[in-house]
Symmetry: C2
Subunit: 361 residues, 2 copies
DNA sequence: ATTAGCACTCGAAAGGAAAGAGTGCCAACA
DNA sequence: TGTTGGCACTCTTTCCTTTCGAGTGCTAAT
């Protein structure tokens, strides 16, 4: 579907203006911007056509125009001018990110918080870990009743647990178990941890006190937990900044959905390539609760063939280009930190490739 | 200040009714409850006196009465009938708590989430760790570029970090460092980790690659982080359920304060004894943002002479007794899990001792 | 000391008029 | 054929007025 250059300019102006003011925008307001060199009457005609084409709509007969999801889609795909953050801003973001570099889980939730701060929208971060295995298994003997299990996972995170037993355990037994687990339980996924495997380990270790099953239970817990995607939501309260969520019921519904860790991506849909940005506008979302909100998602590379996503949620009237740019920087930073070998030079970040629905239903 | 039995009953009735309906309560409504055997006119007289005593107030001349903070204080201190949860409810709470028993940090945030669910108010949890030391130091050699630092702290939490170096390191060196740190860095607090100590460890280990300082940095980070109080906030969005926060600006302000980890307790004020409940009503709070909200706080014993608190925030019109009871169960459960040796029998929980301001300014 | 009765007050809800923003359309114009 | 000014029309928003009712305070009777 091709529309004239001028219509595109007008559509872009409507979106820009509406994003800024949250009020339906009228023909006069557009004419006064001075970009189009024509009168408000001309623009009125064009607006009427944009409405009948489905890009805009009128809340009521004598109001200004508001973009439809299809209008936003067009804007995101073609019209939006990629907002370039200034060098200082980019560096500021990177600096703030650098201050947080602990363990994976922490990093992710910190970055989600950062994303929310930067964009002033609620942000969420998901890790989708696939097929995690244990790379290494250690048991540290502390005293007769206490030992620490330390597990290194294939995604290079480390999990541990302090175990205190009501009975005394021989240091030798712990050492035997440590090496048995290290050979028997590494490189396998959760479903390979069978009762049979546990039994045979127990027998091999000559364990009569049931220590083996405690350790095996931890292995299972770790593998299960690591394989499950985890979600972090930050800054739900920023939703209340948006005029479209001044209705507490509406805000509450969406916030509840978000902090419940609701699904964002359409079920079957895969994450993008790292570095790409996905935009889901209003009804393009599957979740009922998101039907009149938009979601911008950046994918990062978490190494080990794993990807995660970081995104923000806001009204359809969202500053897509600013948000996309900021998320892109954050995702690039995460990829750099978590991802595989090659570390792109600081300050660089991935190209802004925007992907999403086509907008035609 | 003594007031008649009947006034107390009437005050209690006003609070109960107002908590339930969030509407100013009139004389007729109280008369119809049937507890006081007198007419609405009599109650009107009493109400007028309660107003002039400062326990109640009128939003405007011809409205019903609403409790003042002083009224709530009287209610909490003397009138409120300790709500006894049914056995099933208590057991349900304990069961749900039992499902979460991982590491300290997780437990706390899970319990905070649980508190929010149970009470339908935003909940927060604070740990105040004091003088944490390292109890044991282990370094696990993984390969020439990689090792894992595992640290057991005096509060029985375990912290770990995976270190990847750009240079190869000798396994012998790692072993030397492991035992040096285990003897030199245990039992000391953060400020005892001096550059001198690090230097001498480095020399003793014959470390020319700077590995020592990496490990020392982790030790410092762990000690700092463990000594810093951490706060978790859950369910901010539940605030929007309360009619007094239907104004999005009000809600936003408070939610922002909460998720910013704002202080709750008056600066100098100590936590209660474990098992006690503290109630801060409206202006009794120090933070400006909390001046017309109430906070209920339960203290738990985190073992090792450390206490933490778990609390909820809501409008002054809060169901104090139900909230206090639920928090009490949660705090007791936490004490049982985290606290020192003796484990009180399941299902039991600490007495409900309520403490707080006296309400006289 | 308690109660019934009644006039009074004040806010919330409902109705209605006026204002204003923006449109749609027509006729004139380049 | 595309553009423009003009103007009547529509529909919301805002403000004002009115009405309604809950609840009070006071007084007089018990």
């Amino acid at each position: 579907m091709n529309i004239s250059e001028r219509k595109k300019k007008i559509l872009a102006a409507v979106v820009d203006e509406y994003v800024r003011t949250a009020e339906p925008v009228g023909s006069k307001a557009i004419a006064e911007r001075g970009e189009l060199h024509c009168s408000s009457a001309t623009i009125r005609n064009e607006l009427a056509e944009l409405v009948s084409l489905g890009y805009l709509e009128q809340p009521h007969t004598s109001a200004g125009r508001v973009p439809t999801p299809m209008g936003y889609r067009m804007y995101v795909n073609e019209l939006m001018q990629k907002q370039k953050l200034s060098l200082e801003e980019t560096e500021d973001i990177n600096r703030r990110m650098n201050q947080k570099l602990r363990e994976l889980d922490d990093t992710i939730s910190d970055v989600s918080r950062l994303a929310s701060q930067l964009t002033d929208y609620p942000a969420l971060a998901l890790t989708t870990r696939t097929a995690v295995t244990i790379k290494r298994f250690d048991i540290i003997y502390v005293d007769a009743n206490t030992f620490i299990i330390v597990v290194l996972l294939s995604d290079n995170t480390v999990k541990n647990k302090l175990v205190r037993l009501p009975v005394s355990v021989d240091q030798k037994l712990v050492q035997r178990l440590s090496s048995l687990f290290n050979s028997g339980f590494t490189g396998i996924t959760e479903d390979a941890v069978t009762p049979l495997l546990i039994k045979s380990t127990e027998r091999a270790a000559d364990d009569t006190m049931g220590v083996t099953s405690v350790i095996a239970a931890f292995a299972i817990e770790v593998l299960t937990q690591a394989a499950a995607p985890s979600a972090y939501v930050s800054g739900e309260n920023r939703l209340l900044n948006q005029p479209e969520f001044r209705d507490p019921d509406k805000a509450h519904k969406l916030m509840g959905y978000l902090s419940g860790g609701g699904y964002i991506l359409p079920p079957g849909e895969n994450l993008n390539e790292a570095g790409e940005i996905k935009v889901l506008i209003g009804p393009e979302n599957v979740a009922e609760e998101l039907k009149d909100s938009s979601v911008v998602i950046a994918t990062y590379d978490a190494g080990d063939n794993t990807r995660g996503m970081i995104g923000v949620v806001g009204p359809t009237r969202m500053d897509y280009s600013a948000v996309a740019e900021k998320l892109s920087i954050l995702a690039a930073g995460l990829s750099r930190r978590l991802g595989g070998g090659e570390a792109p030079p600081e300050g660089m970040h991935n190209k802004l490739i925007i992907k999403g629905d086509t907008g035609h239903e």
